[in-house]
């Protein structure tokens, strides 16, 4: 599955997860999803391997459920996902994407 599809599939499950899990951090999750989408949209038409890899990293980390802070089980499950995405944006000089 391509990265963009993975991102959309994972994002599509967020609302459902929020109902299932009592303290699911939907707000941070959606904020991270937005930033990941913006990073994807910011990819230049001419392939840039460095930017591509970093964007890939941010999205891969986001869609990975059992990361440093488990997305569903941890009370701050998306803090790490957002931090990674923000770090990528900053590394790519795309600070303005971060809201």
């Amino acid at each position: 599955m391509v990265l963009a599809d993975e991102l959309e599939e994972y994002t599509g499950q967020l609302d459902h997860q929020a109902v299932q899990s009592e303290f699911f951090d939907l707000e941070t999750a959606k904020r991270t999803a937005r930033l990941c989408r913006d990073l994807l949209a910011a990819l230049p038409s001419e392939p840039d391997e460095h930017q591509h890899r970093l964007t890939q990293l941010a999205i891969a980390y986001f869609v990975l459920e059992e990361d440093a802070e488990d997305d569903n089980d941890s009370l701050i499950g998306f803090d790490d996902d957002l931090q990674v995405a923000v770090a990528v944006a900053e590394a790519l000089g795309l600070k303005d994407l971060v809201d």
Partner: protein, 960 residues
């Protein structure tokens, strides 16, 4: 028919009826046990087990709870629905609060002022109720502890309580908590320990036998066996009174200090709530205060040497008399003080003169354990009394160093000491100027009159002085043996407690209490005494303040009178040196009025250090002004402590309980009428008092076996009242009469008799049944109205959401949920509506039965909505808490790494050693983080299976 549970987590609420081993029980609480099991604490209600408390484990016993949709709906034919109202009121009484308001503490037998409720409110706002109550001397910290413990008990989080206190105040603390809050603590003093040993098998853990215990911290720290018992126990709440004794102090390397600190560290992780109290919670160093905060919350502070107010502010509360004066009104009076300066007699001057010139050759060249030169030590002893002086000299003469050496220097010192002995012995009582003035002062109080009721407490640092005074005063004032009492640290706990009790009793003969500084912490001496004399001065502001706090405290009815006795030597140089003592008195008075915490004046925060500092002034190396400055010695830590508490603590919110009876007395009266057969004439109601007396029936006696033995004497009635004033008067009178335990006890939900009565009411009602009540005025158009209770527990089985609500049925369908208040208002059940007994038909009952499943579904949905709303409201603060925890983890490791990098000397092995230490520390920090995270997680995550109960059904009149 039943929801049975074995090995899965029980969905039970306090007050739920369960069937286990074919007997009926009422659930008191459900708690996690070892190996992932759950323990259901229950009280028997059926005939064979009535009143018996027991614990069932869900993997051993089949615990059956009836399904709510199978609740049997039964008609109540009692007049004014007495049976139903008692049943519902009892369920409401068993319904623990789940918010942060004060629900019962403010209704104890006290006149609470807002500041006394704030510590409990602040603790209840925490994820874990843990707090350091650090109010100044005499503000009533015991009452503040009682309020918080009451709130914990009401929430089902105070079943097991351990109080650690100084041996001198065990009884005082125990009585206050019983008389005002009916919290029964079993006192394990020397007699209590023997009693326990004779009552239970030798290998049984006494802390399992008794759930609520008060014990001296020194008994616990010394006794290896008791320590082992403690290691096996878990508590709902631990109180450490005078917790400065367990803090990391600059002198905590002493065996005693570290034993106490170890004990506190042992207990802190074994309790849910932790309450620390101290008027002197730090020694001026950030790390000392941090050690107490770490007991409360190990993840609060990342660097014990350097932290901010934000890190500690949630965990302590500190106010002084000046801060709360506007709330107390007549509860505090301005202190009156007088310094009585006596010119030394020729005999005294002879000794002063000799002492001022004397030079020792083998002794006194260096500062001893007291940090003073020996000459200063002698001067201090002499300023106490010639007896104290002689005792000090005689002791020194006995010492090997002086006695056995053959050198010229030793011979010289022996000669000097002998000369001092001779000079001291020449000072007979008539030539002891301070004593003569003191005598006149006592006569002025009328203490030489035979029938006087005047009392005075006299403090001295020296036991020799106390003994001298005891002997002389009897002669000079014509007092009898029982009119003078001497209190000092080497008395055993029984004698110390007896003296405190006697001095607080109006009927006691004691007129003069001669006390060492062992009596200066914690004990109440203000009940019939408002005069205190410092026969000698402690060279410490902290000790002075603590001494004065014995009578200058909350509840003192008269302006406290404080007298200081000073001797002024003829020797001008020495008199000049001693001027520092006069300034010490002035500064203590000014500091307690303006600064609140007198210890900031010198910023030493340690009695012994203050004494050394003052001694330096007396030794003449500094002026009185240099020794005792006008302004406090401010530092960053002081700014942190004061600054952090600048914002006014919000007043506690108090909530009135939901009840169907006008008051507890009416509830009890109806309950006894309902429950007791005519031949059970155990209760007698009083005509002139809002109360009753009860001769406990067998099942109640059974409960008293696990309570302090002092509370029930075989064959005697227990007197209970709802009149708080009467309880307080009775408490005062018990003290006056020296009978220890008040005649009248507060009848409220927390009293063992009220708990027993509620259990009896719940037990009397049919198994898994709910009453049907016919409401003549109708139900706002509804076909009927179901009163339901819903409860959601967290992962630790503690109830976090409890709701009472009504489910109306209209046209056969559940309508919108209504609140309990609306149910009460619509049905008028709190007003004891008349029961028309119109003969409701079986057909109606069947119809009501058919609604039950829909009602339970609607109730379940309602509770899940409430659960969602709760999650939404606490999510953000909760995440902030967890983020703070993550920050703590990083900062702790960084701070450790920095410190170790600086500490370790440069060498080839430095890096390896550093890495090893960091690895070890990282593991420790991770363990704490993990434990704390799991604690938060388990405490906040809830079950999505609410416990539901149909409690009653109301039908409109005329349906019969």
């Amino acid at each position: 028919m039943v929801r049975a549970t074995r090995s899965s987590k029980p969905v039970l609420a306090p007050g739920a009826k369960i069937l286990v081993r074919d007997e009926e029980w009422i659930v008191r609480s459900v708690r996690p046990a070892s190996q992932g099991r759950y323990a259901v604490h229950a009280t028997g209600t059926s005939e064979l087990v009535r009143g018996k408390n027991t614990i069932f484990l869900n993997d051993i016993d089949r615990i059956e709870e009836l399904k709510p949709e199978e609740t049997e709906l039964v008609l109540d034919d009692t007049p004014r629905y007495r049976k139903s109202r008692l049943y519902l009121d009892s369920l409401l009484r068993r319904s623990p609060p789940t918010d942060n308001a004060i629900h019962a503490g403010h209704r104890a037998a006290m006149r609470p002022t807002p500041y006394q409720l704030q510590p409990a409110a602040k603790a209840l706002r925490q994820l874990r109720p843990r707090i350091l109550m650090a109010d100044g001397v005499g503000l009533g910290k015991t009452l503040e502890v009682g309020v918080l413990l009451t709130e914990l008990i009401q929430r089902g989080r105070g079943e097991r309580i351990l109080v650690l206190a100084l041996k001198s105040i065990l009884e005082q603390f125990q009585q206050e908590l019983w008389a005002r809050f009916t919290i029964p603590l079993v006192r394990l003093d020397s007699v209590g320990v023997q009693r326990v040993q004779s009552k239970i098998p030798t290998n049984m853990n006494p802390f399992y036998f008794y759930n609520r215990v008060i014990i001296s911290i020194d008994t616990l720290k010394r006794d290896e066996k008791y320590r082992r018992y403690l290691e096996q126990c878990r508590w709902d709440a631990v109180v450490i009174d005078e917790c400065q004794n367990v803090a990391d102090r600059s002198k905590s390397s002493t065996a005693r200090g570290s034993q106490r600190a170890d004990l506190a560290k042992l207990l802190a992780p074994r309790t849910d709530a932790l309450i620390l109290t101290s008027a002197t919670p730090h020694d001026g160093r950030a790390s000392s205060f941090a050690s107490l905060i770490e007991l409360l919350e190990p993840t609060a502070i990342a660097d014990k040497e350097d932290y901010t107010a934000d890190e500690v502010d949630d965990f302590f509360i500190r106010r002084f008399k000046k801060d709360v004066a506007d709330q107390i009104g007549s509860g505090f009076h301005d202190r009156v003080q007088d310094i009585e300066k006596q010119t030394a007699t020729p005999e005294e001057n002879a000794l002063f003169d000799y002492l001022s010139t004397v030079k020792f050759q083998t002794i006194g060249k260096t500062r001893g354990g007291s940090g003073m030169l020996f000459r200063t030590l002698l001067l201090k002893a002499f300023l106490s009394s010639p007896s104290a002086f002689l005792s000090t000299v005689a002791e020194r003469l006995k010492k090997k160093k002086v006695q056995d050496q053959d050198s010229e220097e030793a011979a010289h010192d022996r000669e000097v000491l002998t000369e001092l002995l001779d000079l001291g012995e020449r000072i007979k009582p008539a030539a002891f100027s301070k004593y003569q003035a003191f005598l006149q002062r006592l006569k002025g109080f009328g203490l030489d009159e035979k029938k006087t009721s005047e009392r005075v407490v006299v403090f001295s640092e020296r036991v020799a002085t106390l003994e001298f005074l005891a002997t002389r005063l009897k002669k000079d004032l014509g007092l009898t043996d029982d009119q003078i009492a001497v209190f000092h640290g080497s008395l055993d706990d029984q004698r110390q407690q007896a003296l405190v009790r006697e001095f607080g009793s109006e009927k006691s003969a004691v007129r003069i209490l001669l006390a060492s500084d062992a009596a200066s912490e914690g004990i109440n001496l203000h009940y019939y005494c408002h005069r205190l004399i410092h026969f000698d001065l402690p060279w410490s502001l902290i000790t002075m303040e603590q001494r004065n706090g014995r009578i200058d405290r909350y509840g003192q009815e008269f302006p406290p009178e404080i007298y200081y006795m000073l001797t002024v030597p003829g020797n001008e140089e020495l008199a000049g040196d001693l001027r520092v003592l006069e300034r010490l008195i002035e500064k203590e008075d000014a500091a307690q009025k303006n600064l609140g915490d007198v210890a900031w004046l010198l910023n030493l925060h340690d009695k012994e250090k203050e004494e050394e500092h003052i001694a330096a002034g007396v030794e003449g190396s500094k002026t009185a002004e240099e020794v005792l400055p006008d302004e406090p010695q401010s530092n960053d830590f002081m700014e942190l402590l004061f600054g952090s508490q600048e914002d006014k603590e919000p007043d506690a919110t108090c909530a009135d309980p939901n009840r169907l009876f006008e008051n507890d007395r009416e509830y009890a009266r109806e309950a006894f009428d309902q429950l007791l057969d005519d031949d059970e004439t155990v209760v007698t109601w009083m005509d002139n008092v809002e109360g009753f007396e009860i001769y406990p029936p067998e099942d109640l006696k059974q409960r008293y076996k696990f309570l302090p033995p002092e509370l029930y004497k075989k064959g005697k009635a227990i007197r209970l009242t709802t009149d708080r004033d009467l309880v307080m008067q009775s408490h005062d009178k018990a003290r006056e009469d020296d009978v220890r335990w008040p005649e009248w006890e507060l009848f409220w939900e927390q009293h063992p008799v009220a708990e027993w009565l509620t259990d009896r009411v719940l037990g009397e009602f049919g198994r898994h049944a709910a009453p049907i009540m016919e409401i003549p005025q109708g139900l706002d158009g509804a076909d009927c109205l179901f009163l339901c209770q819903g409860l959601i527990s967290n992962n630790r089985s503690q109830p976090v959401l409890i709701h009472w609500f009504g489910v109306p049925i209209s046209n056969g369908e559940p309508g919108d949920i209504i609140s309990l208040n609306d149910v009460i208002q619509q049905t008028g059940i709190s007003g004891a509506p008349s029961n028309p007994n119109s003969g409701t038909q079986q057909l109606t009952i069947e119809l009501l039965n058919s609604y039950r499943t829909a009602v339970v579904e609607a109730a379940g949905k309602h509770m899940l909505n409430e659960r969602r709303a709760r999650a939404e409201s606490i999510s953000e603060p909760l995440r902030e808490g967890v983020r703070k925890l993550a920050t703590w983890k990083k900062a702790s490791l960084a701070s450790f790494t920095n410190r170790q990098t600086q500490l370790l000397p440069d060498s080839s092995s430095k890096q390896a050693l550093l890495e090893k230490r960091i690895e070890r520390e990282e593991k420790r920090i991770n363990d704490i983080y993990k434990a704390r995270y799991e604690w938060i997680n388990d405490g906040l995550r809830t079950s999505d299976q609410p416990f539901l109960r149909i409690a009653a059904v109301f039908i409109p009149g005329g349906q019969g």
